[in-house]
Symmetry: C2
Subunit: 333 residues, 2 copies
Amino acid sequence: MARAAGVAPSTVSYVLSGKRSISEETRRQVEQSVRKLGYHPHAGARALASSRTKVLALVVPLRADLNMAVMMQFVSSVVTAAREHDHDLLLLTKDEGPQGLRRVTSSAIADALIVMDVEAADPRVPVLRSLDRPVVLIGAPDQITPMGLTCVDLDFTAAGASCVGHLADLGHRSIALIGPSPAVYKRGTSFAGRFLRGFTDAAKVRGVRATSHPCAPGYEATRACLDELLAEEPKVTGLIVHNEAVLPAVLTELQRRGRRMPEDLSLIAVCPDAMADNQPVSLTTVAIPATELGEMAVEMIIRQLEQKAPSAPETRLLSPRLTQRASTAPRKS
Amino acid sequence: MARAAGVAPSTVSYVLSGKRSISEETRRQVEQSVRKLGYHPHAGARALASSRTKVLALVVPLRADLNMAVMMQFVSSVVTAAREHDHDLLLLTKDEGPQGLRRVTSSAIADALIVMDVEAADPRVPVLRSLDRPVVLIGAPDQITPMGLTCVDLDFTAAGASCVGHLADLGHRSIALIGPSPAVYKRGTSFAGRFLRGFTDAAKVRGVRATSHPCAPGYEATRACLDELLAEEPKVTGLIVHNEAVLPAVLTELQRRGRRMPEDLSLIAVCPDAMADNQPVSLTTVAIPATELGEMAVEMIIRQLEQKAPSAPETRLLSPRLTQRASTAPRKS
DNA sequence: CTGAAAGCGCTTACAG
DNA sequence: CTGAAAGCGCTTACAG
């Protein structure tokens, strides 16, 4: 390559990296040869010499109880954002555990880590903290920031409160939450707990009756959950569904039971907006901003990589956005 | 590392790779130091010296008209299988196009490529063929094998035929297919066309009436599609849904219109079996074996990497598996 | 059974 | 503004 352009290898390197000024002429010379030969520097050699791989690692959970479609939205937006910043994306699974994280960083496969689905008491947290590479969590575990990790997430507490606020404003006095699978709460996946807390606290403040119903995946579980919920007195007139996997089943069952939306029941779905499109009714939603979160995570990581000094850990919580559509209405008194 | 174990660097390398015999004693010595120091060889250095990265690249489509949940199943199984074979997975998107493939291979970021969603006249095909690295396609484009690429896929032609066969055996004489979005056919994504061909040909052979209804995503499109389909004469009594995204909407709409399953209408869903679980009725399915396909792709790639001589391209088509459940029954005469 | 040495293809101080 | 040289951390013939 260097000889094709009639310059020294170092010059090629400098042209490509822009790390020092180059005369118009040699730059053109080099760029032309690069194009002609379809030259791409050897990634391993570059990594070895520069200690930079230009690879980001994303650790995803592969859990049946988390929604695959939502996961894929995160993955999509992270890989797209990474490429926009001239980085590649390595995919890791949660199954690799703490040692997987060590492997990837200590063998210099990736420069930084984006980690999803961190649980309370997650054994990966201490490792992540000791890694000495930029780390951003998507999803904020309770109490992580003081422990020194950077997170981005939807403000699920505010999201829970905002749902309650909307329903209360519409006059609903008895509301219910269909939440994620019990297994999700049990693992201490904090988004579930935070949403629930926001929901509960806001209900107390607004003086409305509020019950919570975690729901396992599968149609049977959904039906059972609705049985329980609809039997309550006073009658539930406001429903929040914070569980993408069972949302279609909930809608189908409500219809089968003759509960009309919004006449008999107002419903808010907490899910990516794209998902609301496939539903029979235009749903009032609190959006899960998967795409923005993925982009933000990448941008924060890239910024950390650009500055040599490790930046102070921060937590960025996106404010929830509630969009009213046809599935919520004032309570019929 | 080498000094910690009191041996030469080359010895460490040989212990780790197993490429030559080592005395019990030095092996133990080395292994112990490896554990103690948490040593992992530098991936870039290894790649540079050995021309092997131990990284597989997976190229996924990020298209709204392909089902995200199904995509994620493929991704999951590929990454899991790759790790089982001691390889990492780099994720690329279709958006990167032909030059993305060149970039990844010519900069030696990955050893081999697994590519999804290859279309008719896909500009990536000639590039893929010229790449001189193992390539496996998930999803067999028509006419690709003679062009020299290895593929794995479900035998969609047989799948279409098998659906028709099942319904015809049950006595249905007028059947319909709700297929993927028109955009999918237009792109020449071959699974859609192959399924349709199997469906059409088998219907001809069995002498049943058969119509095809591509369906765009979204509830409105689904409703329109059903309007058209249910207006047909003679009345459709057998329905095949080969479109995961609209399946829940189809079921909801059928119920809303008072069409009972299987009394009024027998329905077969073509989708991953996991997806059938979340539906109100236990559905007769032809499974899309995403997990198996991903595993097979990885195994074929790994095998190609192990043998130095490039192996002859082959196409492996999995036979469809139809599982009868509660949504299909003999036609009420 | 093991080691010394060359070399993989870059980047980056060091010189000029 | 540019080049020669060292060095990144491995692997793999080459010797013994």
